[in-house]
């Protein structure tokens, strides 16, 4: 379970002070898919950074599995991210000059997973995103959709508990985007992974169990959890 309590984050000083997050609180149950929905500059990305320990808000708590990660030391947060979280970005951030294998292997190396296990996991992750035949290809030779699939393989290789996706389909056409969405939803549902999608796309947000709307750094609304993903596609929120 992820509990976000009274988070406040400001940028700048005095006259230039800008409140990015203002008293944000909500709770996410384990295994849920959550959309953080908001316009550009609404504070949705800042919220994701705070929840993943990349950023430190001035006030509030982010409690994951009973531990306030904002109180942890840098080393402990790094370890937390290396073992329990992973990320997918709008612009993929795959290493173009490296092979698919080396791209996916990076989180395992960071988490000190032994060599033998690493190989098994990397191949399994690449097969899960249907890139099993591209193990030795350089990432720069992949198409946009393949790159994002590679990024998903990198994100799921270490069996994270929480998967953050920042506009995962933002740089893709709708057909490819659908493939990516399906991959994300089916993986997280099958593995009980909490999926947190940051997006401004209401269609994508509608496919999630919970929608958190954010505007000007404040929570506008938090929808009630839906029972199954199937219903979500029919019943759009507002």
């Amino acid at each position: 379970m992820i509990e976000v309590r009274h988070i406040k984050k400001t940028y700048g000083k005095k006259q230039n002070k800008f409140v990015a997050l203002d008293d944000v609180s909500f709770t996410i149950p384990d295994g849920a898919s959550v959309a953080i929905l908001g316009k550009s500059g609404s504070g949705k990305s800042t919220l994701m950074h705070a929840m993943s320990g990349l950023d430190r808000p001035e006030e509030g708590e982010v409690i994951i599995d009973g531990e306030n990660i904002l109180k942890l030391k840098a080393k402990a947060i790094d370890k937390f991210r290396a073992t329990k979280m992973s990320f997918i970005f709008q612009s993929f951030f795959v290493q173009a000059n490296e092979t698919c294998y080396d791209n996916v292997s990076l989180p395992l190396e960071i988490a000190n997973v032994s060599g033998g296990q690493r190989k098994k996991k990397v191949i399994a992750a690449l097969e899960a995103v249907e890139l099993g035949d591209k193990i030795k290809s350089k990432a720069k030779n992949l198409s946009g959709g393949q790159k994002q699939r590679l990024a998903i393989a990198r994100a799921i290789v270490n069996d994270p508990k929480i998967l953050f996706a920042d506009e995962p389909t933002g740089n893709l056409d709708s057909t490819t985007g659908d493939v990516i969405e399906n991959l994300l939803f089916s993986y997280t549902k099958n593995n009980g992974t909490t999926l947190i999608i940051v997006t401004h796309d209401p269609d994508l947000a509608a496919k999630c169990d919970i929608q958190i709307r954010i505007k000007d750094g404040k929570i506008e609304s938090v929808s009630e959890p839906k029972k199954t993903a199937k219903h979500l596609s029919v019943r759009r929120v507002q």
Binding site: H49, S52, L54, D55, A74, K75, D78, K79, F80, R81, A82, T83, M85, S86, F87, F89, Q90, S91, F93, Q95, N97, E98, D102, L106, P107, E109, I110, A111, N112, E167
Partner: protein, 425 residues
């Protein structure tokens, strides 16, 4: 993150920027090249000097000179001393060893023999039907390493002489072989008016190629049996105040272990004494200074390349901002990010060191025969000697220097804010 994985990733990112990596490491390679060559030249020089000293001096030998007095205040007249000395203008004088000094030293424990150094400058050398030439005559030493064009130095007795090839030619012998067994005339002037010149007729038993020592001492004199040289010397000094006085003497110790104690004893008696070792250490010091200067140039090249590494690594950090941000988002620790960049610098240092020192090895090996020819060193003498440890020292040293240069860029990478780095434009 494991060091092995970081090292592998560091190597991979360098391979992805091959041209830049190569150019940066070439800069450090210039330093490695210079340093390796200077170390090789130092090792070779020491080896060569040791060979020369060992083949030309006896380790049991001591070179004894009278202690020269402080010349003091030159503006004041000096008291006359009855001991023999060579006076130069302006109050300078060189004290000489007398026969009594020689006898005193001879009585010391451990002395096998003592031979005065005879400085003979004959009037001229000639032979029948030939011109007269200036010449220096030295006592023949069988420990001297020389190359013979004809004859040998195995059996030089009273009345025998060894000629350098240049005198062989000047004196009209058609070939080195032609000179063997023929006679030459060395004419020594009388010491005081009224004493006639004396001709010493010597038989040529050997003709030598230019000596290896010639490069060091410019030696190009006729060598005669020491008895003859002694006679010439005495004839030339006869009746003068410096008869039976010598600038120096060579003491031969009975055992090598006695040499140092003898040196102390002779010094205590008020003479200057130098062992073969002392002579060698002087030459070594000279070589070491030269080597130090060369290494200094190499160090300068390395210093320049340090800025190259810092620059390259800074650019690399800027280029890979997103990669660094991603790695940090994935939980890579600051220390490991820093290590990644330091290891990249270490790889550059390794490459530069390896390239530079291997080029030095190749160039040095190719140059050795040429140097041998130009300086007419003996066969199998290499002036550049590459010892395996120098490669290890140069490469490891340069890796450390590179890591040092990589510290600042590595710190910049480690400090990078992942949120900034991953912000999509």
């Amino acid at each position: 993150m494991r060091l092995r994985d970081i090292t592998r990733r560091a190597g991979r990112s360098l391979r992805n920027a091959k041209a830049r990596t190569l150019l940066t490491s070439l800069a450090i390679g210039v330093g490695a090249f210079t340093i390796t060559l200077s170390l090789a030249a130092g090792a070779g020089g020491r080896q060569y000097a040791e060979d020369i000293v060992n083949s030309n001096t006896n380790v049991n030998e001591l070179y004894v000179q009278p202690k020269q007095e402080n010349q003091g205040d030159l503006s004041k007249p000096k008291e006359y001393s009855d001991t023999p000395s060579i006076s130069y203008g302006g109050g300078f004088s060189l004290k000489l060893l007398q026969q009594s000094d020689i006898d005193k030293i001879k009585k010391l424990d451990g002395v096998q023999s003592i031979t005065p150094v005879y400085n003979v400058t004959p009037k001229y050398i000639t032979r029948e039907g030939q011109k007269k030439y200036q010449v220096g005559v030295e006592a023949f030493l069988n420990t001297l390493k020389q190359e013979y064009l004809a004859g040998s130095g195995n059996d030089v007795n009273r009345g025998d002489a060894v000629l350098p090839d240049s005198y062989r030619e000047a004196l009209g012998f058609s070939s080195p072989q032609d000179a063997i067994g023929k006679t030459i005339d060395v004419v020594v002037a009388g010491s005081i008016p009224g004493v006639a010149d004396k001709t010493f007729t010597l038989t040529v038993v050997g003709v030598t190629k230019k000596s290896e020592l010639a490069a060091v001492s410019g030696q190009n004199s006729v060598q005669a049996a020491s008895e003859n040289v002694k006679e010439m010397y005495q004839y030339a000094q006869q009746g003068t105040p410096i008869a039976n006085a010598y600038t120096a003497a060579t003491v031969l110790a009975k055992n090598q272990s006695d040499v140092d104690t003898l040196k102390e004893k002779i010094k205590a008696m008020g003479y200057e004494a130098q062992t073969a070792q002392d002579l060698m250490s002087f030459i070594f010091q000279f070589i070491n200074v030269l080597q130090g200067i060369l290494i200094g140039f190499g160090a300068l090249a390395v210093l320049t390349s340090v800025f190259g590494i810092i620059n390259t690594q800074y650019i690399s950090v800027l280029e890979r901002t997103q990669q660094i941000g991603l790695m940090k988002a994935l939980g890579m620790r600051r220390r490991d990010v820093g290590r990644l960049f330091k290891l990249e610098a270490a790889w550059i240092g390794f490459l530069g060191g390896a390239i530079g020192s291997l080029l030095a090895l190749a160039a040095g090996s190719a140059a050795n025969p040429w140097i041998r020819d130009v300086l007419s060193l003996g066969q199998n003498t290499n002036l550049l000697i590459f010892e395996p440890w120098t490669f290890a020292v140069v490469i490891i040293g340069l890796m450390l220097v590179s890591v040092g240069a990589g510290i600042l860029p590595a710190r910049k990478a480690a400090k990078l804010d992942p949120i900034e780095a991953l912000r999509t434009e």
